[in-house]
Subunit: 290 residues, 2 copies
C-alpha cells in the first residue's frame, strides 16, 4: 500500500504525519513550532523528508497561501509566514513526487472524499477560524480558477466601510463571520473589552447581550450560506474551524434554505478538524500517483 508524508504548514505550527492509501495516519502526528525564517522552514522539511525517505512514495504539503494549478508553487503573499516563504523551491526538497495545495482546499478535499461531504459532487467547505477560508468542489473537482487561487472568501460584504479586513479592504465576509468577527460583535453588543469567549460563556449563562451578539454573528453567517447556496447550488455546505462547534446547525440550516433561490442544501459540521489539511493533500497526491 502506497504511503505519503503529509505536512500542514501554518504560521504557528507545522504538523506532519505518514498517511496510507486508505487515508489513515500510520503513526502519531508530530507538531513543531514554525521556524522563524523561510530557510529554517526549508531545512526542517528537508530533514523530515529525509527521515521518512525509504517509507514514502511522495510528499503532500497543505499550506497557507494560494497554490498554482501544477501544485508545485505558491502564487500569493502569505501574511503569517516568514518573508521569502512563498518563494521557496519546494520541488527541490526531494526527488520523490512533491504535491502542494492550499490548506483550505486540502481540508475541503478531505471532507469531500472521506468526511461530511462524502458522496456528493458539489460542496462548499467554509473554515471559520480567526479568518474565513473556503474550499469549493464543483462537479467533483476543486474550484481552482485560471491560476489556482480561486475560492478566496475575501468577498466584500456590502459597499460600506464599517469593518476593516486583514486583507486591507473593508467589509469582507471574514469581518462578519470569523472568530474575530464574533469579538467585534461582542464589543458592539456587550462591552468595550469583550471578546468572542465572553459571548460563548454568556450564551451558556443565558446572558441576553451575549445572545444578541451571537445572533448577529449567526445572521451574517446565514447571509454567507445564502450566498454560497445561490452561487454554487451545492449538495452540502460544511463548516469547519474553531467556530464551527458553536453554530446552531438545525436553526441555521432551515433559515438559509428558506432564503435561497436554488434547491436546498444540507448544512453539516466537518468530520475532520486539525488534520483535514494533511489528509486532503495526501489524498490528492495519492490519486495522482495511484
Amino acid at each position: 500500500m502506497k504511503k505519503v508524508l503529509a505536512f500542514d504548514i501554518g504560521g504557528t505550527k507545522i504538523a506532519y504525519g505518514l498517511i496510507d492509501a486508505g487515508g489513515d495516519f500510520v503513526n502519531e502526528i508530530i507538531k513543531v513550532t514554525t521556524p522563524r525564517t523561510s530557510e529554517g522552514i526549508y531545512e526542517l522539511l528537508k530533514t523530515v523528508i529525509k527521515g521518512f525517505y525509504d517509507e514514502i512514495d511522495g510528499v503532500a504539503i497543505a499550506t497557507a497561501g494560494a497554490v498554482n494549478n501544477d501544485n508545485n508553487k505558491i502564487i500569493s503573499h502569505v501574511g503569517n509566514l516568514p518573508e521569502g516563504y512563498n518563494k521557496l523551491d519546494f520541488i527541490s526538497l526531494s526527488d520523490k513526487p512533491i504535491f502542494m495545495e492550499n490548506d483550505a482546499n486540502s481540508a475541503a478535499w478531505a471532507e469531500f472524499k472521506l468526511g461530511a461531504a462524502k458522496g456528493t459532487k458539489d460542496a462548499v467547505v467554509l473554515t471559520l477560524g480567526t479568518g474565513v477560508g473556503a474550499g469549493i468542489i464543483v462537479n467533483g473537482r476543486l474550484l481552482k480558477g485560471k491560476s489556482g487561487a480561486a475560492g478566496e472568501m475575501h468577498v466584500r460584504f456590502g459597499c460600506g466601510h464599517e469593518r476593516k479586513c486583514t486583507c486591507g479592504l473593508w467589509n469582507c465576509l471574514e469581518t462578519y463571520v470569523s472568530g474575530n468577527a464574533l469579538t467585534t460583535d461582542a464589543k458592539l453588543f456587550m462591552k468595550e473589552d469583550a471578546t468572542s469567549y465572553d459571548v460563548i460563556r454568556g450564551l451558556k449563562e443565558s446572558n441576553a447581550k451575549a445572545r444578541a451578539a451571537f445572533d448577529h454573528w449567526q445572521e451574517c453567517l446565514e447571509n454567507a450560506l445564502v450566498m454560497v447556496g445561490n452561487l454554487f447550488d451545492p449538495e452540502v455546505v460544511v463548516l469547519s474551524g474553531s467556530m464551527a462547534q458553536f453554530v446552531e446547525y438545525k436553526k441555521l440550516n432551515k433559515q438559509a434554505n428558506d432564503d435561497i433561490l436554488t434547491q436546498p442544501f444540507e448544512l453539516k459540521q466537518a468530520r475532520f478538524e486539525n488534520n483535514a489539511g494533511m489528509l486532503g493533500a495526501a489524498l490528492l497526491l495519492l490519486e495522482k500517483i495511484a
Copy 2:
C-alpha cells in the same frame, strides 16, 4: 451543416431564429410578444417548430429560470412569465432533440465560445440589466451545481436591511449594481423622482450629483468584481446587459485588480447583446448532437 432553431423566452418578448453549426443566424431573427398564458406560449413554440421542422436538427431554448442538469425542464419559479410556464412539458414540443438552458448561462456560453471570453477556460459573465444575472465558466464548463441552478447572483451584499430585492430578501447584489440600483442611487444623490436615465444624462452634462450617484453605483460594481475575482479567479469578467455600455472599463479594471487577492483578470464588454441567449443555447445543443 447542422442547423437548430433557437428561442429566447423572456417575460416581454419571445425571439427565435435559425442558427447553423458555425454559429451564424441563417435568417432574420423574429420577435413576438410573449403570450399571456403558459398554454399560449406552448402553442406558439409548437407552431414555430412545426414550420421549421424539415430544416432543423433540434430546438435550443434559452429561458428565464433555472434549468436542470438534463437540460429538459425548469426547476425554479419564474416570476415574470405566466403561471404554469415552469411546469410546461417542453420535451413534448417535438420529436427532434429539445435542449434548454437558463438565459444568463446561455449568453455566457456564447461569449465563452465566440465572444469576449473566447479562448479562456475560466470566465464570469455578469448581465447588468433591470436585475443582475450571471453565467460562470469553470474549467471550460458551465457552473451548474447539483440541480442546475448555480450562478444565482442573489448574494446578500451586507447584513443590513437597506435595500429590498425583488427576490424578497434584503441587500442582494442586484440592489446595488443593476439598472434599478442606479435609479436608487439617482434618488439618493440627485432628487426624489430621479431615475437612472437622469444619471446618464447628467454625466454627459458633467452634473456633480449625477457623477456622485454613478460613482457610488460603480464602486458597488467594483465590489462585485472583487467578489467574482476572489471567488472564481477567472481570466476574463464580461459585462453584458443594458447597463454594460455605461461602465468605465479602464478605470474599473484597474481598481478591481488592485483590490483582488488572486491573479489579475481582464474586464471586458460583451460582444453579443440581445441574441447571446439564443446563440449560446444553440451552441450547447450543436455540441451535444455533433
